[in-house]
Subunit: 218 residues, 2 copies
Amino acid sequence: MENSNNEIENLLVICAADEGKLKVLLKKREKEPYYGYWVLPGEFIDSNITEEESTKQIFNALVPFDYTYTFQGETFSDLNRYEGRRVIALTNIVITDKQLIDLKKEKENIEWFDVDELPKLGFDHGKIIEKISTELKYKIACNYHDILIYLFPSDFTLSELQTFYESMVGEEIDRRNFKKKITTLNLITDTGVKDTLSGGRPSTLYKFNIESMKGTRL
Amino acid sequence: MENSNNEIENLLVICAADEGKLKVLLKKREKEPYYGYWVLPGEFIDSNITEEESTKQIFNALVPFDYTYTFQGETFSDLNRYEGRRVIALTNIVITDKQLIDLKKEKENIEWFDVDELPKLGFDHGKIIEKISTELKYKIACNYHDILIYLFPSDFTLSELQTFYESMVGEEIDRRNFKKKITTLNLITDTGVKDTLSGGRPSTLYKFNIESMKGTRL
DNA sequence: ACAAAAGTGTTGCTGTTACACCCATGG
DNA sequence: CCATGGGTGTAACAGCAACACTTTTGT
């Protein structure tokens, strides 16, 4: 066979870290099928648009600025995954900063959800998010530190980072040992600023040392 | 947009371990474009065949038995990757045993190549193999031991395994330390059989302990 | 007897775990 | 002054790296 004919969609899994949890941005669907359900933002693509352009386009339809980091996820191709038809879903993971999106969130039909506490999802998007978040957790657990830079672009406290890290690897870590680990690896720098928003003693705000993190793969 | 129209192909990266190296099975192309070049075996797919069926079909067109392990690789979608058209390439990595395929190789137009010493390849298949073999190397380096079971299904010597492992992680390891590592993890069992084919003292043949390896991810 | 490859143990080092008390702030 | 959360050091242990000589076979 020298030709074929398929429908393709590009789905975005837009991720951010907040309150020590991995969040994903979902959109409330405005038409049938699955009217009113939550789904991953996406669009059908045709053979004249690149995956990257499509990703940017979907993202910009939600918020008016650019993301900093994206990479391809698994492709889903079950025969009946889209209303009985086989629409192949490419997925792209977009890492962004939750605060940025919150600032400009005038739209009522998009919302962040904790990946472990999802609402009712349309199509097979529940399965997709589950697979991709598992993959992300493995990557972070396997010390692909690069991803953390994008999840924590601005200053953060050690507790924030630790809580997030713990939820990714699924186990608790001693505070002192955690600090030792990342300071030994030279991953963070004290910004000199303190955060007084928490209940007790103000916590130091850190930022990542971008140089030390490039290619720090286990 | 609620419909789209795309050409899709499924490409197989069929892998085996031999002489301590990662090998990939290529096919000599029998028509234009790229007549006579080496390419990944594959086929165009349509919306009525599953990815798994297609993978099996492509594999069986080359050899008359089944593979034991397969998983999805990256998807390639550059606008002009297929003769100026955008044909989206799904990839599937198939892990098999080189000896099996050698036994039945009556075909002249398929051949194993070392992933680091490839011939002239058609289309963008060089780039595809490079990306996927890098990914595979990372997985093996990150202790996804499962893959090794399928690359070494039959008895093997420690040197064989070590040479292969070294070429995957890109560094040399002390023989004693390597043995210590995998015996501590309980990964292998002495089969009692010796291999007298090498030059010197006969080497012990081992097999993997399948039970100990399930989910041994870092 | 020699060449080729396999087999084996010990020591130091380094990174990891376990663990508890004091400090700075707000109410 | 009390509640809340943040900050810090040390000692035992485990896993990892470095290292060289002996054994078994074929020729």
